[in-house]
């Protein structure tokens, strides 16, 4: 299922003195099976854009095509459930959405809204818990007894439980410990690779973009200023720095190394693994094994 934006604009509180334009002139496409990173400053319109991906907000100008449904400002608010099932959104700090008495019931809340029975819901919850790194013993516990990180996992499980075709993640790892972040990001990437799930990731971590995304969209002041493959966009480190967005650690390291040694890499390394490989290639006498080992530290 593709999602296409054509000339999309969105204005908050249109027709009042509090009117403020959040998005304008947005053309973009999120292809089925892609892993898209959405990058931009706070206040660049990322969160508003996200709400258009499953018709929580309707564009005030232009059209959004979600699969075969066309959403314009005229679209009726009814019968959007089908879209909501296909496009799951994990909002920022999703632990705020927990409310049920038990974790199992909270995870099953989404599926039940989309027609699953009590039994099926329980079954789904049981399957989702290990996916987010929790075990079955959590099923009957209250979500409010958990630590912040565990609550986050339960909330994410609640969205995954709807079995969406497109998964939208708004800074899903903000506030998690490094180990938890890595596990979480790997889990999403696994879903992308094994189930061909389309993923849209909003992030400030350029390393995550470099490691996982195959498409990158940069928003600034409510409009798209650049989009394309991360490899191409990261070539222009200066432009990114000027937008105060930065580059992945490997790119920054490579840049400094090139300057120091006055020598340039054949291909810009995006990840630490690629960087290690290229440095190893400079050292002809190094046994091949070492390069491989370093490569194993991927991500």
């Amino acid at each position: 299922m593709d999602i296409t934006f054509e000339k999309v604009g969105y204005t908050y509180q249109k027709g009042t003195p509090f009117e403020s334009r959040a998005l304008y002139d947005i053309d973009l496409m999120i292809k089925e099976g892609s892993y898209t990173a959405l990058v931009g400053h706070t206040g660049s319109g990322k969160s508003t854009l996200l709400q258009h991906l499953n018709a929580l907000s309707k564009p005030t100008e232009g059209t959004v095509k979600i699969g075969d449904r066309v959403i314009t400002s005229q679209t009726d608010n009814k019968n959007l459930k089908n879209i909501r099932k296909k496009v799951g959104i994990v909002f920022q700090f999703p632990e705020a959405q927990l409310f049920e008495e038990t974790i199992a019931r909270d995870i099953a809340f989404g599926p039940k809204n989309f027609g699953a029975s009590e039994e099926e819901g329980k079954e789904i919850a049981k399957r989702m818990l290990p996916l987010v790194g929790l075990d079955e013993s959590f099923m009957e516990r209250s979500p409010f007894d958990l630590s912040g990180g565990q609550m986050r996992r339960v909330a994410i499980a609640g969205v995954l439980a709807m079995d969406p075709e497109v998964l939208v993640l708004d800074e899903p790892t903000a506030g998690l410990d490094p180990q938890g972040r890595k596990e979480m990001m790997e889990m999403f990437f696994g879903l992308h690779q094994q189930q061909n799930m389309t993923i849209v990731l909003v992030t400030h971590q350029m390393d995550d973009v470099a490691n996982y995304a195959d498409h990158m969209i940069i928003l600034e002041k409510g409009t798209v200023v650049k989009q394309g493959e991360p490899r191409e966009i990261f070539q222009d480190a200066e432009w990114l720095e000027s937008k105060q967005l930065g580059v992945p650690a490997a790119v920054a390291f490579a840049g400094r190394l090139e300057k120091r040694l006055n020598r340039s890499f054949a291909k810009l390394p995006l990840t630490t693994a690629e960087l290690a490989e290229q440095i190893a290639a400079w050292l002809p006498n190094l046994p091949k094994q070492t390069a491989q080992e370093k490569g194993g530290e991927d991500r």
Binding site: L56, K81, A96, F109, V159
Partner: protein, 264 residues
Amino acid sequence: MDKLIFGRYIPGTSWIHRLDPRAKLLATMFFIIIIFLANNWQTYLLLLLFTLLAVKLTDIKFSFFINGVKPMIWLILFTVVLQVLFTSGGETYFQWGPIMVTSQGLLNGVFIFCRFVLIIFMSTLLTLTTMPLSLTDAIEYLLRPLTKLKVPVYEIALMLSIALRFVPTLMDETEKIMNAQRARGVDFGEGNIFQQMKAIVPLLIPLFVSSFNRAEELATAMEARGYQGGEGRTKYRQLHWQTSDTIVMLTFAVLTGALIFLRN
């Protein structure tokens, strides 16, 4: 929230905006009292003109004042209809048992309608042109004599300003959680009453949880910054009574005199 909140402060620099909040608060309360002096068309006309002049002075679009009336319109119409149907006196146009339409009834209906609209206009004017925090300051100042009776005025004022301060935060939070639950397939405002009430639960519980958490965090933050109660605290925002505020008070005195003179 996309909807405009009724009576929400609209920043501006008009003459009315710049008045002392105490003057505005007192004037509005006074207006609500003297409106009961009006009992014929001359007095209502005078009050209407006075209100329109005040509205004009705010530099705020008239539609905002109309929007203030809208949520109350059914209550107003209900009262008006009762007045029209159950007032006797004057010429009788229609009668059926205790229900009658008389000239007096119609007149009363119009007056009641005017009274409601004027009161709403004036109180909307107060909230549209005064920052909620200034209003709390004004309330605190006006309640200050009650400290002698051991009424915790400072604490009441603090509670009021905290409550007002967190209205927008709570609205944001509501919208966020609503979006999150809508994304999980909840339909707010659809289906029968029972379904709608059920849909509210996933919204209310997270809101309560976050409000309690926030209250605790706020208390900790206040204590960490040395808050020990309101006694003897100085103010960051000082209220200044100016000539224009005295003019407002004098205008109201003149208006009252005119009303007493014109009424039957």
